[in-house]
Amino acid sequence: MTPALPALEIRGLVKRFDRPAVDQLDLTVRAGEFYSLLGPNGAGKTTTLRMVAGLMQPDAGAISVFGIDARRDPVEAKRILAWVSDEPMIYDKLTPYEYLEFVAGLWGIDARGAETRARDLIALLGLGPHAHERCEGFSRGMRQKVALAGALVHDPRLIILDEPLTGLDAASARQVKDVLRERVTAGGTVIMTTHILEVAERMADRIGVIARGKLIAEGTLQELHELSEKTNGRDADKARSLEDTFLALIAERAQAA
């Protein structure tokens, strides 16, 4: 039996601006898992994910999405992934249905299937009463939900979200989290960056911690706790929240640098 292809495999990824933003990064995300990427501001999380989504060219390294070389064949890689940024980018003058039809057309998928999926997503995300209104008057939460529906309407195998819960109220955040969880349960893969550590703690199967463009720790919540205890010599009972572990790992990295 051949092992399943990883959803995302990054090897030796490099991106420099005035300093290295991503520095020889290696990262593997398994198919069907919810992976949360954490790190302080400017750690290189968004830059990494933008390179995976094809929004930025790496200086060096390899990116593979379900075995497809994303640098050599970006169109094929894009066909099976979706990108949602913290700033929902939708068209003010289109209705949610028209927006979803546009996305389905861009991804070149069957209109009938897309229509059914669009109806389900609109209902699931609570957009039903506004489905035929233009997005220009929508709140931030509604806009983010429309953007998320757009990311899911073409049924991607890998969905990448950069701070998708920023500025959402509790009810909207819950709806987004439920949709993502269902996605993973149905076999999809989700990679999400977030500053809300409680979300990563509750939702992620595995967590990666990135600092200064390098992956400094990775594993399940328990594995990260153990790593933090081992390197910092702390009592296991004193560092039980992800926040404590995260801050300890970052502090250790800063000291080493």
């Binding site: 989504a53 094809g54 929004l55 169109v75 094929e76 894009k78 066909r79 992934l81 979706a82 990108w83 940024s85 980018m89 939708i90 068209y91 003010d92 003058k93 289109l94 209705t95 249905y97 028209e98 979803l100 039809e101 546009f102 996305v103 389905a104 057309g105 861009l106 991804w107 070149g108 069957d110 209109a111 009938r112 897309a114 229509e115 669009a118 506004h130 489905a131 035929h132 209104e133 233009r134 997005c135 220009e136 008057g137 929508f138 757009g150």
Partner: protein, 515 residues
């Protein structure tokens, strides 16, 4: 406590304090607009402005130099001066309406100011005065090359023209405030923005177009000042001692006329600020509420997805967004308004069999280039969801091709009726116009593509500030193609050289464009 701090604190919230604040913000806005936010461009901007000023003085000399010696007892001179002033004033009034509308709807600092314990009457009195000052100063700035030439060649009496231009600018602001508040009261906050901008654009264009149409109907020419210059209007206008000529007399240095004009304009702005500044705060808050209110418009309650290729959905999306934005539509199609006079010329030519086609063909080509430039900016730089399109499984080349097709499709829809009307009259001229329109529109589209810079669609009016190079390249390209079309319509081989110049402009733009 520091004496300066105490003094500053005691003066806060006064009109003078707000005026200082507004002046500082206005200066920084202007500076940022001129340098596109890059301080290192300051020297280039200063050199550019100096060269532009020199060029404008030469242009002014050729246009008004011959009129410098006229006296206040010359009826025809009063007609020409008044006509030119009225033409310019329409444009100033249009600009003033834009400024007043912006003051209503600008949200950046209104929330802060309106939530402070300062009387909103004070704030808006200063803000309206600032609009009046900026409009007045802008008028003076634009008129200064012409006035300087008149002073140099006609004597110091022309210095009075500065006072008249400033006063008329201020009066335009007063009228703009009254019109905008009236629109607000009649149509409410949501519709006023669009209506005010359309009214402003129509005011700006209509007088010029009206004069052209009158000149065509009377003399078969597109010249705006022809009616004034021929003296044909003089017989039907009031006599030399009529108060209608006061502004013209004031410009010619008549102290009494100058005092009356300046006093009347200052009174107008004074009344306008006194009456409307109290209500302006309420209107501004209503405008802010209007922009936040959810859209209630429904398109259709049942929606069926259609199977489309990525190129087709991209083209369809561009057209839908344009059709659903009346403001952008009006801004784009305003350029088409300028086609009305050539259309009339075409119709008359057809009827009378005159040879006006040589004038018509380059006008069509020129307007197509300008219109395509604006539409291409919207489709390429004004993309609202660039990351969505960039992460779609479509090659960038295909995306660009679909957007170019969307722009050229719009151009085809606008210009096809003109070409169809031209065809039975002269197939050759229709062919020249068609090729010229295609070349000018394609060139303008590619210039926008090479110089693209992500921006909000609502910044359409300020798109020139993101790249002056692109603006100049687009203008030169349209002019070169219009020149080529004019020469080709004249059936001269010089058209080849003009065409090569247009291609050279395009190649230069490609070379200068950021990689």
């Amino acid at each position: 406590m520091d004496r300066a701090l105490v003094s500053a604190a005691s003066n806060t919230g006064t009109m003078a304090w707000f005026a200082r604040h507004e002046a500082r913000i206005a200066w920084r806005d202007w500076f940022s607009m001129m340098t596109a936010g890059q301080r290192w461009r300051t020297r280039n901007v200063v050199i550019g402005l100096a060269l532009f000023a020199v060029f404008m003085h030469f242009l002014a000399n050729s246009m008004v130099g011959k009129h410098a010696k006229v006296g206040p007892d010359n009826h025809d001179a009063l007609v020409i001066i008044s006509g030119a002033a009225l033409l310019s004033w329409c444009l100033v009034l249009s600009q003033a309406m834009e400024s007043v509308t912006r003051a209503f709807y600008a949200r950046s600092d209104l929330d802060l100011i309106l939530s402070s314990p300062v009387a909103s009457r004070v704030v808006f009195a200063v803000r309206l005065a600032a609009v009046a000052c900026s409009v007045g100063l802008m008028s003076v700035l634009i008129a200064s090359p012409f006035i300087n030439i008149l002073v140099l060649r006609g004597g110091a009496r022309w210095i009075a023209a500065y006072g008249v231009v400033l006063a008329l600018g201020v009066a335009a602001a007063a009228i703009a405030i009254a019109i905008t508040v009236a629109l607000f009261r009649m149509f409410g906050p949501r519709r006023t923005r669009l209506l005010a901008q359309i009214v402003a654009a129509v005011i700006g264009a209509s007088f010029v177009i009206g004069l052209q149409i009158a000149a065509i109907l009377s003399y078969g020419t597109l010249s705006r000042l022809y009616l004034f210059e021929t003296g044909a209007l003089s017989d039907g206008l009031p006599s030399i001692d009529s108060p209608l000529w006061l502004p013209a007399r004031a410009m010619l240095g008549d102290p009494f006329a100058l005092s009356v004009v300046v006093a009347a304009c200052l009174l107008a702005i004074g009344f306008s600020i006194a009456i409307f500044s109290r209500r302006f705060g309420d209107h501004a808050m209503a405008a802010a509420g209007a922009s936040q209110a959810p859209a209630s418009r429904r398109t259709q309650s049942f929606y069926r997805f259609r199977q489309m290729s990525p190129s087709r959905v991209l083209r369809r999306k561009e057209w839908t967004l344009l059709l659903r934005d009346p403001w952008l539509m009006s801004q784009s199609l305003m350029q088409v308004l300028y086609l009305l006079p050539p259309a009339l010329l075409l119709w008359l030519s057809h009827r009378e069999g005159s040879g006006a086609l040589i004038v018509l063909v380059p006008v069509l080509v020129m307007v197509s280039g300008q219109l395509a430039g604006g539409l291409a900016w919207l489709a390429i730089s004004g993309e609202d969801a660039p990351e969505l399109v960039a992460t779609a499984p479509v090659t960038p080349r295909r995306v660009v091709r679909a957007k170019v097709e969307a722009v050229l499709g719009c151009i085809a829809i606008v210009f096809a009726p003109f070409l169809a009307a031209l065809l039975p009259f002269s197939a050759f001229h229709a062919l020249v116009a068609g090729v010229g329109i295609l070349a000018a529109a394609t060139s303008a589209t590619f210039i926008q593509l090479w110089f693209r810079a992500q921006a909000k669609r609502s910044h359409f009016r300020r798109r020139q500030t993101s790249s002056r190079l692109a603006t100049f390249a687009e203008a030169f390209s349209s002019i070169s193609w219009a020149g080529t079309a004019a020469l080709a319509a004249n059936e001269t081989w010089l058209a080849v050289f003009a065409g090569l110049t247009a291609i050279g402009v395009l190649a230069g733009a490609r070379w200068l464009a950021p990689r």
